[in-house]
Amino acid sequence: MEIFSYEFMQNAVAAALLASVACGIIGTYVVVKRIGFISGGIAHAAFGGIGLGYYLGISPLLGLIPFSLLSALGIGLLGKKAKVAEDTAIGAFWAAGMALGVLFISLTPGYAPNLFSYLFGNILTVPRTDLYMMAALDALIVAVVFAFYKEFLAVSFDEEYAEVSGLNTMALYLLQLALIALTVVILVRVVGIVMVIALLTIPPAIARKFSRNLRSMMVLSGVLSAIFTLTGLWLSYLFDTASGATIILVAALAFTVVHLVFAVTGRE
C-alpha cells in the first residue's frame, strides 16, 4: 500500500474515479442510443484540438475542449440537418480532425512532448491541475443530466413521441453530443483519444444486462468503470505495462466473460 504515498499514484486513482463518473452517466446514453461511433468520431476529431494546443503553446487539454465540442455539433448537424449519411459525417470529421492535429504538430517547432499519452492515455502522469478540470467537467455533466433526465430519457427511448410532446429533440440531441465531447476530454488523460470509445461502451453494455432503468444503469456502469480503471492501473503498475491499454484490456476481458456466462447459462 506504500505506493499510495506517491503523489502520482494518488492522482492516478483520483483520475480513474473522476473518469468513471462521466463514463457511467454519458456512456449509458451512448449505449442505449447506439451512438458509439459518433462518440469515436468526436474523440478522434478532437485530436485537432490537441495539435492546436501544442501549436499555440497552451495546455493541449484547453485546445481539446473547443475542438471536441465543435466536432460534436458538426457531426450532429451534418448527420441530421444536411442530407449527409451519419456514418459519412462521422468519417469525414474523424479523419479531418486527426489530419488537422498532425498538421498543427508538424508546424510546431521542436518535439511534441507527451503526444503519445494523449493518443493512448497515461493515467500515471495526470497533473493535479488536470484533476481539477476533470472534476469541474464532471460536475457540469452531472448537473446537466440531473436537469434534463426526463427529457433525455424520452428522446433516447422514443424520439418521435418526445417530438409530439413538444420537446426540441434536435437541441437535446446536440446537448447530449456536447456532453459526450466533454466526457472525451475527461477520458483522454486516462485511456487516450484512440481508446475512449471502449470505456464509453463496455461498462454500460455490461451494466445494461443488470439494470431495470437508466438511473441504475448509470450507477452500475460508473462502478464497473471504476473497477476496470483501478484494476488496469494496478496491473500496469505491477507489470510495468502501458496503463491505458491495460485498462481497456481489463474491460474487454470482463465484457467477454460476462457475455460468455450469459451465453452458457442461456440468459438473454
Binding site: F157, E160, G166, N213
Partner: protein, 253 residues
C-alpha cells in the same frame, strides 16, 4: 351544434414528388369516435402526423381545437403504430407512462407526486396496473399497446389519436383493446386508423375510407360505387351502423 375538434379543408400533402393526401376535407366533432380505414400506403399515418402537427401540409389547412396543431399538442394523446424500441432498453412500464406527462410539464420541471398519481391512474384504466415495474422489453404485443394507450392517457387528452392499435396484437387482446376504447370514447374524441376493417365498424361512430382522398360515412351501407371510387380493386362491401357487418362480396365491374 357540436364543437369541431379537427377541421381539414382541401388538405394536400406531397413528399418527394409523390402525392400522399389529395384535397382532403373532413371535420371531426367533439365526442366522435372516427375509424379511418384504408389500404397500406393510403396515407393513414401521414394524416395522423398532419393532425399532430408533425407534418406540414403542402396546401390546404388543418385546425385542431380551432388552432394550429403544434400549439395544442398538450390536448392531444397519441398512440403510435408500433414502438420501434430496443427491447434491451432499460426502462420500466411506469417510467414510460410518465412520459405522457412531458407535454404538460415544462422543461427542467421534475415529475412530482401528482404526475405519478395520474400515471398510475392511466395504468389502471388501461388495465395493466400490475405491470408497472416490469421492464418494457419483457411485455407482449398487447401489453405494449396498452402501455402506449396509458402513456397517451397520462397527458389527460381531449383528443386521442391511435395508429393501428391492434396491428401486432393477438385476436383475444384485440377485442379487449376495442372494449377499452369503447370506454375511453365516453370522455374524449377518438380517431383511430386501421386496416382491420372487420371489427372496427361495430365499434366506431363514423367510418372514413382513406385512399389519398377521403369518404366519410355516418351510417348505412357503404355502397359499391363509393368503394370502387376509393379502391381500385375488389373489396368487401362494408356496412356501418346496423347491421354492422360485411354484407356481401363485391367485385368492381
Amino acid at each position: 351544434m357540436k364543437k369541431e375538434v379537427v377541421t381539414l379543408s382541401d388538405l394536400s400533402v406531397e413528399a418527394g414528388g409523390t402525392v400522399i393526401l389529395d384535397g382532403l376535407s373532413m371535420s371531426v366533432c367533439e365526442g366522435d369516435y372516427l375509424g379511418i380505414i384504408g389500404p397500406n400506403g393510403a396515407g393513414k399515418t401521414t394524416l395522423l402526423r398532419v393532425i399532430l402537427g408533425l407534418q406540414k401540409p403542402t396546401s390546404g389547412s388543418v385546425r385542431v381545437f380551432g388552432a394550429d396543431p403544434a400549439s395544442v399538442r398538450r390536448r392531444i394523446g397519441y398512440v403510435p403504430q408500433r414502438l420501434f424500441f430496443d427491447r434491451d432498453f432499460p426502462v420500466t412500464v411506469f417510467e414510460t407512462v410518465l412520459m405522457g406527462r412531458l407535454a404538460v410539464k415544462g422543461m427542467l420541471a421534475r415529475y412530482n407526486r401528482n404526475d405519478r398519481e395520474i400515471a398510475l391512474g392511466a395504468l389502471e384504466t388501461a388495465g395493466i396496473g400490475g405491470l408497472k415495474e416490469r421492464r418494457v422489453g419483457a411485455l407482449s404485443g398487447g401489453e405494449i399497446q396498452r402501455m402506449l394507450i396509458a402513456r397517451a392517457l397520462a397527458g389527460d387528452p381531449e383528443l386521442l389519436l391511435l395508429d393501428e392499435p391492434t396491428a401486432s396484437v393477438d385476436p383475444g387482446m384485440k377485442t379487449s383493446i376495442y372494449d377499452l376504447l369503447d370506454t375511453l370514447r365516453k370522455s374524449m374524441t377518438v380517431i383511430l386508423v386501421t386496416h382491420d376493417t372487420g371489427t372496427i365498424t361495430s365499434h366506431v361512430s363514423q367510418v372514413a375510407c382513406l385512399n389519398r382522398g377521403i369518404h366519410l360515412h355516418e351510417e348505412g351501407e357503404i355502397s359499391s360505387a363509393e368503394m370502387s371510387h376509393m379502391y381500385p380493386y375488389p373489396v368487401d362491401v362494408l356496412v356501418h351502423e346496423p347491421p354492422k357487418k360485411i354484407l356481401r362480396r363485391h367485385r368492381k365491374p
